[in-house]
Symmetry: C2
């Protein structure tokens, strides 16, 4: 824990605890660690990155996956599939809706906040990105499943 600002740390603790409670998840050490990391640093992170960012042996990788999946279920966290064989996870902050761009070569990930595609592409071009493609997918519950 940070020795520099114990008050802020307490606030963070309370925030994490509240978020978990609101979503009906019990308060456990691994869940606080993982959610705490996602709140402090703004990802997206792979499960492996999370594992290595947390204190050694503080949390098993199976637990990390299980917690992340639960967080995604209750929409506390978003998943992206920026690389094909590895998911990335990020705190789902409703006030900071944004999207990602990944370099096809070096895999560096950046975020941006515009939300109209032509505008976004123009801005990306100005930033020097070449050969831009996008992928937009919607996820929802269809009429049949909503009734069943």
């Amino acid at each position: 824990m940070s020795l520099l600002n114990p008050k802020k740390e307490l606030e963070r603790e309370a925030l994490i605890t509240n978020l978990l409670k609101e979503k009906g998840l019990s308060i456990t050490a691994p869940r606080k660690l993982i959610l705490g990391l996602l709140l402090k640093e703004h990802g997206p992170f792979s499960a492996e990155e999370i594992l290595h960012s947390l204190p050694k042996n503080s949390c098993d990788q199976a637990t990390i996956y299980r917690c992340l999946n639960q967080f995604v279920e209750v929409q506390l966290v978003n998943t992206s599939f920026l690389e094909k064989d590895m998911a990335h996870f990020e705190y789902n902050d409703p006030h900071h809706h944004h999207h990602h761009i990944i370099c096809r070569i070096c895999k560096k990930i950046e975020s941006f906040h515009e939300c109209l595609m032509e505008k976004i592409e123009t801005n990306l071009q100005r930033k020097g990105y070449k050969d831009i493609q996008h992928r937009l997918e919607f996820f929802a519950v269809c009429e049949t499943c909503a009734k069943g």
Copy 2:
């Protein structure tokens, strides 16, 4: 091969062959089968679905993956990650740019052609979809990599 319309079949053959040639890929039986399927039916298909749609033993699964990856490289085919542990593939028809919606429960995939998000979401709501989320990601070559 279809006995109903041999002329159309020949045209299709020629189209497939031309597409492969244009992209600098040699003409092989598996490549023709896979691309042919993607041209005839409009996916997206998983590799497994492609395997089972082709005539028994006409093509190994390793070959299917290799061909699909080559098609993606030359931008003849697009990939989506609609389900988290399985890629879907679709012919990249520049005249029919579109996006997908997948039901979070039954995994049924539909396509639509609008390209502004609010409009899309409104239309999806009219179709009865609930709890709509979207995921938009850009892929490009960053300035550093373009120079290096």
